[in-house]
Structures are given as structure tokens and as C-alpha cells.
Subunit: 336 residues, 2 copies
DNA sequence: ATGAAAGCGCTAACAC
DNA sequence: GTGTTAGCGCTTTCAT
């Protein structure tokens, strides 16, 4: 069965009023129509199964109440929380949200994704856990679309809602120190991007406070992945020189945990693990993972909030916002 | 810095040609413009930083090459695979894809999400792992938008790409039978929707072939969740009457595994677990989970393919397609 | 309070 | 090949 698409004109004819009136009624401009007109229009619209063509409406209004979220398609298990936060606040504020997945920097579908968003004139963009190439940023700015980063803070970027990575590194290290550890590993962190560098900074800072200078061999860089963690454990088992290690992510920590099982290392008896992120993986893992937990849902909420602010008030002010982290003590760190 | 939005007219003026020509060049209608015009237009467009307003274009063309994917926001860990499959095929076919997350049936933001999609005149909708209320389906059909279900097959629905749930239940059970099991549990499945009922059917069928009739107490219904699995293990430990259990999902299986650890039950020595889904959780879990694996990426690909077909050829034919499952043997099932 | 008419940015005839 | 024009479906002055 084919339905023809019904326009405002059809409704107008059916209701015996002008298109203008239909438009006014349907967009609820209360002061500009009478009750009898309203009744007729509503009835006609319902009868015809009318549905507004938002695209046409947006075209003339030169606005578009949809916010686009760009998510890294790299397997990040905290995306769910960010999405939850975003959806909640967006719907409270009557914005629609669409999500798009993009590959990482190097693979290069980013420009295309951004093109699609700017050419569709979305009213705002949140970059969730992605690092964007310079070209794409320029495009967004040329299109005059407000945007904000969430969860990942690129270097030199000020429009961003995230945890303070120095703080994460610092608190993680400090916690282990307080549990009696002195030789502390750092596993799975990249050392090319901002995040890795900053966490490392915090790590050094905490260590410095107790006058220990981190040895190069305590570091096992990686890419936040399960595999990084898996390999890290084997490495630390070999060097036998740390009593605890901080992992770059929960996924990475689980990799270490499994590697420990597979290689006969008991956690936390022989080695303590402190994870960064605090997603539900920490509860699911055995032993449950003690973590420096980020509040991803809050990031999503604050991100959208900041964005809506920029959209509504065309405010161009810097929106750097830091979301606090906390330590969740579970079973993977041993006091020594 | 404010950029003004530049239109086709601006480009035309800058290039010294008519808007029509600009449009033709920019949409690459090769046969309708000369090289000198092309050069001028391209240069002017680049200089001005012109970007097409797709909304206006779509309005006149009465089409919109974006496909929307509606995903259940319920924590499903196989969404990633579906998304990967979808993105791959869509981009190969020059369709843009946007994703929206909807809550489950009962919570009721579904109508709103569907409204936003139909009023934006997306050219197709894939319902990924969601069950849609009747009202929403009607809306989509009234809007004359092609759609297809992926991964979940609602009762009486024919436009769907998914595994055969009877087959899943059958193969799972059969596999355990071949491993020597006779008393087989079924945990975490719902018994109200189609999926649960169908898998149960397959389960009974396999059992019937060896002349055993399933006992009611072998069943522990649930909602596919980690918690369902966690509770299931305690239940089976108490009744002590099955040697193996089939879990509704990988998440559910992991729940059982952890519950086993916490309750001192050894897997697979004391109880075998066969999971359904086969996501990367199976590799991550310890012991690694033997599973009936669904090919989610393939579902995504086939789903989009079917949809594009409907869009291009306005074909209205039934698109039921079954994606084969396979058994991945790992370490959670013991031969007895 | 309502109708008529212009126009959002673009494309697709239709001329030439 | 290229310019001109009408019009996609809607909103919004401007009259009345």
C-alpha cells in the first residue's frame, strides 16, 4: 500500500483554511489563530495523517534542532555511559540527537563524516572520545557550528569536558603509594597523544613527592587495548621489578588479568593492578578491579549542556570543564 | 570569527556564471557544462568556502540519502559488530548513516525517535536489535519509508535479517548432547517474546531426538543480562540436576562464570556452560566460553543491503534472510 | 485572526 | 553548454 505524502497545502484544503493558518496552528503560535480554525486544522491533519517536513521547515527557519555526536568506533566500553548522559539532557532540552561513528585519525573517513554533518546544518557537534584532524575542525568552524570535545582532551583545545588527566595519573599513583607501593608500573598508555603524556606527568608528580624517580623499565606503553594489557603482564612478570601497575583503561586491565591467569601470576597477591576508567568491567572482572573512575555520564551531560548554551546564546566563550574522578576500591590492589 | 554562510548564488556571482551552472558543476553532471565554467566555479567555491546545503537539495530532489539505524540502548555488547557491518556497506554504496538510541518498548521514547526520523524523511530505517511498538511501525509505513529488522525477529515480521532462533536453540542443545550431556539447563531467556520461545523450541526439538523431555526445573528464565546469569548459577547449584547449561547471551554467561567463582563452583569441571552470541566476551572470559556464535557483522551488512535494495528499486518484496550460526569451541564445556 | 505572497537554497525543466 | 524560471514544503511578513 502506497501512501502519498501529504503537505501543508493538502491540510489547508481539507480544513478550508490557508496554508499560513495551518502552519501557525501546527507550530502552536497560540496568539495567531482562533479556536475554530485550530479545531479544523487539527482534525484535517489527523485525518490525512499529516507529518511535517522538518527539512523544509528548517530551511526557512535556518535552524535545525539536532545535535550530532561523533563517536570513535574504536571499541570503547564507556561510550554507553556518555550516550546515556547525552540523551538524557538533550531530550530534557528538546534537542534531537543523532550519532555517527568515525574511525580513528589515520583511517580517514573523518572528513566525510564531518561533511555530512556540516552540510546538513546540524546545530551542534559533540566529539565524544575522538581526536579530530585539523582539516575537520576547520570545516566545523567555517560552518560556524558550535562543538565541544568530551572525554578526550586534544592538546591546545579549550572547548572540552573531561577528567583532568594529570589528576588521574596523580591520584592513581598516590593511591598505590598509600597502599605501600613504591615501584609502580604504568601500562598501556600511548606516549604520543596528550592523554598519555598528561597521565604520565601526574604519575611522576606523585612519585616525586616521595622522592622516587620512575625507572624507564616501569613503563610499558601501548594503545589502551586488551592486548596491551595482555602483553604488559608478561613484561612485568619478566622484569620482576614492580609491585603494582596502573593500566591505561579497564579493557587493558582485563587483558592483564587474563594474562595473569594464563601465566600463573596471582592478582593481587603477586602483583596489584589499578585500572583507569571504572566502567562496569571492573565489577565483572575477577578479582574485581580497583579503579580510578571517570564519570562518563556526567561528561555527556555537561557536554550537551555546554553545547546547548553555545547554540542558544551564540556564546563563544571557552567551555573547558573538568569532571572529578574518584577511587573505587575493589579487590585488585593489595596493601603491602 | 564569524563566517557568513555562502550560497550557490554567491558562488555564481564570484565565478561569473549562473546559479544553475554552479549547481550542475557541483553535482558533477558532466555533460552539462564546459571545462572553463567548471574551473571558475570550482575556484570560486573553494575561495568562498562554499558548502552545499543538503537540506535544500533534498527538499527539491525529494530524496535523502541517509539511512537511520535505531539501536536499543539496552546494554548489548554486539552492537559494535552490527554497526561495523552497516557502516562498511553503507559507505560502499554512498549512503550516509545516522544512529539513534532508543529505550526498550515500555519506556516510551520510541514514538519520539521515530517521529524525528520520519519527519526528517530519512530514506530507510534499520531497526537493530529493537522491538518496536505497533504505533511506531505504523508511522514508518505511513511515511512510506523502507525498513528492516536486524538481529531480532519480532513475531509475524517478515522484513528481517537474523539468525534462526530455533536453529540456535537446536544447535546449542545438540552440541551439548554430542558432548555427552543429557540434563541440560536453559538460562536467562525471556519467555514472553519471540526469541525466547523460538530458542526453547529448538532446545526441545534436539532433546526430543534423544527421547528426553525437558524438566521444568531445568529452565531458569531471565532477561539476557549479567544478573540473570549470576542468579542462574546459584539456582543450578542448588538443584544439582543439570550437567550443562545454555545461556541466553554472552553477558549472561559471564554472569554465571563470576557467580561460579564467587560460589565455588568450578567451570567446566562441575558444570558446563555454552553461551549464545559469540562476541569477544567469549575470548576475554576465563575459562573462555564455548558458544553458538551469531554473525552480527554479516547481519548488519545484509540488513543495509536489503534496505538499499528497497530504496533503489522501491521493491516491496519480503526480505526475510537467515544468517547462519556456528559453534565456536573454547573451554567452558566439558565432554562427559 | 486569517489570507496572500515572498522566499529559504537548491535543482530541473525549458529555452536559446 | 548555459541562463532563466518555476517550485520543493514550509514560515513569516504584510495586509486586511
Amino acid at each position: 500500500m502506497k501512501y502519498m505524502v501529504v503537505t501543508i497545502k493538502d491540510v489547508a484544503k481539507e480544513a478550508g483554511v490557508s496554508p499560513g493558518t495551518v502552519s501557525r496552528v501546527l507550530s502552536g503560535q497560540k496568539k495567531f489563530y482562533g479556536p475554530k480554525a485550530e479545531a479544523k486544522v487539527l482534525e484535517a491533519a489527523a485525518k490525512l495523517g499529516y507529518q511535517k517536513n522538518i527539512l523544509a521547515s528548517n530551511l526557512v527557519k535556518k535552524k535545525n534542532n539536532v545535535i550530532a555526536v561523533v563517536i570513535s568506533s574504536v571499541q570503547t566500553n564507556f561510550a554507553d555511559s556518555i550516550i546515556r548522559g547525552i540523551n538524557k539532557v538533550a531530550s530534557e532540552n528538546n534537542f534531537d540527537v543523532i550519532y555517527t561513528y568515525t574511525t580513528s585519525l589515520d583511517e580517514g573517513n573523518q572528513p566525510h563524516v564531518i561533511d555530512m554533518l556540516t552540510s546538513r546544518r546540524v546545530s551542534g557537534i559533540v566529539l565524544a572520545s575522538v581526536i579530530l584532524d585539523k582539516e575537520s575542525i576547520t570545516k566545523i568552524e567555517r560552518a560556524d557550528i558550535p562543538y565541544t570535545f568530551v572525554s578526550i582532551t586534544p592538546e591546545n583545545e579549550t572547548r572540552t569536558i573531561s577528567s583532568d588527566d594529570v589528576d588521574i595519573g596523580y591520584q592513581a599513583t598516590k593511591y598505590l603509594i598509600n597502599q605501600g607501593h613504591r615501584r609502580i608500573g604504568l601500562a598501556g598508555l600511548d606516549n604520543q597523544y596528550y592523554t598519555g603524556k598528561r597521565r604520565f606527568e601526574g604519575y611522576k608528580k606523585a612519585l616525586k613527592e616521595i622522592n622516587v624517580s620512575p625507572k624507564k623499565e616501569w613503563l610499558f606503553p601501548g594503545d589502551y587495548s586488551y592486548e596491551s594489557g595482555y602483553d604488559a603482564l608478561k613484561y612485568y612478570k619478566k622484569i620482576q621489578n614492580v609491585t603494582a601497575v596502573i593500566t591505561a583503561s579497564d579493557t587493558c586491565a582485563v587483558g592483564m588479568l587474563n594474562s595473569a591467569t594464563d601465566n600463573g601470576v596471582r592478582i593481587p597477591e603477586e602483583l596489584s593492578i589499578l585500572s583507569i576508567d571504572g566502567t562496569n568491567l571492573c565489577e565483572i572482572a575477577r578479582p574485581r578491579l580497583t579503579s580510578v573512575s571517570q564519570n562518563f555520564e556526567e561528561m555527556g551531560q555537561q557536554g550537551i549542556l555546554a553545547l546547548i548554551d553555545m547554540i542558544k546564546f551564540k556564546s563563544t566563550e571557552i567551555s573547558r570543564k573538568v569532571i572529578d574522578v574518584k577511587i573505587d576500591e575493589r579487590d585488585s590492589v593489595k596493601r603491602i
